[in-house]
């Protein structure tokens, strides 16, 4: 955590390429509290040589970005990182206009420094992604992109003013925006996380905003061109973010809050086909009122890395060499 940060939330993990000094880079937002004026995007890297996290530093400041864009950003939120085909780092950050999270937009930043080592990393804004006609408001990112064979990726996102629906944004290998497809016809699902079962068959798992909700799902059989809703999973969802990762064919893991009405239990589950899950590992179990939420996962250096928000005060991480029951 940066020294002056009292709160942290919404971490995202990015596996770094072999040969990079760091195994992975973590991004999250930190400040006095969620949606505080002083919230910035913080980052740290897990150094391969020392096997330690480097001291965190801020890499995105809303005032600096506003000056470069030519218009202001009211608040910063969830960051999501990606490396393009040339190894250049892209960061997608929730940035609000006039209003709360419902007035958010997705700000696309790209590495402007020669190196993406933490000490050298600099980012510059590309643009706010053009996603809606209504002053381009209310689209947010949360979960990691799904990498594609052509070097491009699909970035899951959602709309959340009033109706809540999920979308998939496609980018080419250089990080150029290619378009948006809706994931679902239902209007109570957000923060999708994507799993590829085959190159063309994917599943999206989503947070459910309904009371007594379950993790919701949609699937595509044509590489994301068309999506259909499928029945909710058996797993309950207390209106909380989930994160999924495919480690290998038929080897998938899901980090999710497993209590029906609170975020005090965070667990890891495993599946072979993304729609039926079995418990694998407890990540954090606390007392009533505790919060362990917004998990993120990635695979790096033969390990599964999981990070999550711990009581809204810090980001906690865990590393599993090979999770029990999973053969990557």
């Amino acid at each position: 955590m940066p020294a002056d940060a009292k709160a942290a939330h919404a971490s995202n993990l990015l596996a770094m390429p072999a040969g990079h000094p760091a195994a992975l880079t973590a991004f999250w937002f930190a400040g006095d509290r969620e949606s505080a004026p002083n919230v910035q995007i913080a980052a740290s890297q897990f150094d391969r040589a020392t096997r330690q996290w480097l001291p965190a530093r801020y890499v995105v400041n809303r005032h600096v970005m506003g000056e470069q864009l030519g218009f202001g950003l009211r608040r910063l939120g969830n960051p999501v990182a990606w490396l393009d085909a040339s190894g250049r780092l892209h960061l997608f950050v929730v940035a609000t206009g006039w209003g709360g999270w419902a007035a958010a937009r997705i700000l696309h930043l790209v590495q402007s420094s020669a190196s993406n080592d933490l000490a050298a990393l600099e980012l510059m804004p590309v643009r706010v992604l053009p996603l809606s006609w209504l002053w381009n408001t209310s689209f947010l990112v949360r979960n990691a992109p799904l990498p594609l064979a052509d070097g491009g990726m699909v970035l899951p996102a959602h709309f959340e003013i009033g109706l809540k629906y999920s979308v998939a944004l496609r980018f080419d290998r250089a990080g150029e925006f290619l378009g948006m497809v809706r994931l679902s016809q239902r209007a109570h699902m957000l923060q999708p996380t994507l799993l590829a079962l085959t190159p063309l068959s994917w599943v999206a798992l989503m947070r459910d905003t309904r009371p007594d909700g379950h993790i919701t799902a949609a699937q595509t059989q044509d590489g994301g061109a068309h999506w259909t809703d499928v029945p909710d999973l058996a797993l309950v969802n207390p209106d909380a973010a989930v994160a999924a990762l495919a480690l290998a064919p038929q080897q998938m893991v899901l980090a999710h809050n497993s209590s029906a009405h609170s975020r005090d239990q965070l667990d890891l589950s495993a599946s072979r086909e993304a729609l039926h899950w079995s418990p694998l590992q407890a990540l954090a179990h606390g007392q009533e009122g505790d919060e362990f939420s917004y998990p993120a996962m990635t695979w790096a250096d033969d390990s599964l890395w999981v990070s999550y928000t711990d009581q809204r005060r810090s980001i906690t991480w865990q590393r599993f060499a090979v999770p029990a029951g999973v053969r990557p």
């Binding site: 030519g70 643009r127 053009p130 996603l131 006609w133 209504l134 290619l178």
Partner: protein
Amino acid sequence: MSADVSWLAVLLATDAPALPAPWVMRLGLSVGWALVLALLGAGLGYRLASGKRRLLAAALASWALLPGPLTPDYWLGLAFHAPSLTAMLLCGWGLQRLLFPCDASAASAARAPASSLFAGEHGAAVFPGGMLWPLLALGYLLLLDTFAVLPLQLYAWGFSPALLLGLLALSVLPWLLRGPTMAAQGLPRWLLPTALLLFAATRLPTGNLWDALLDPWLWLVFNGLLVRRLYRQWRA
């Protein structure tokens, strides 16, 4: 044959948007809000002498063109991003009518508030029924599309080159059919084709054609004009 199919696919595609360069977006945002603020200043200052009125409009426009957070476009951009090209052209046209009237009747009209540009006689000139209704309907459809209420993804069509070519052809059709007599009617004859050509050249404000044609504020103004027109008809 395959080359033809590939050409057609590119034309109809919505998944290869040409987006404006960052510096072009920034310039478009400042110029757009400069035009809007200048028109507002010129309209609200209709009691001023023409010299002072021009000065007020120029001062407001210059303020918006300055860089940094102490300028209005920085905050207007935060809330509303950039105006549409249609709105920018309307503002430019309005400024010309208000600040540099070309004849006696125009000079008389220029003494009226800016809102009168879009009402009565002038309203009839600016928004003949053929133009107001499609833009109003388009706004409602785009609003519904934003909330994913429509079965199709209308906003994505705004990235299609085919839509640009189709609308461009449609917008010049009255011109081609009626010839130069349309010239007497002022703005409508060139507004849409110019906005579309400007979009083709700059991709402003976002790279999406719908954003270039109509922004939510302009659509709200059109709704206001419609309500006023209906009210006047009802009173008459």
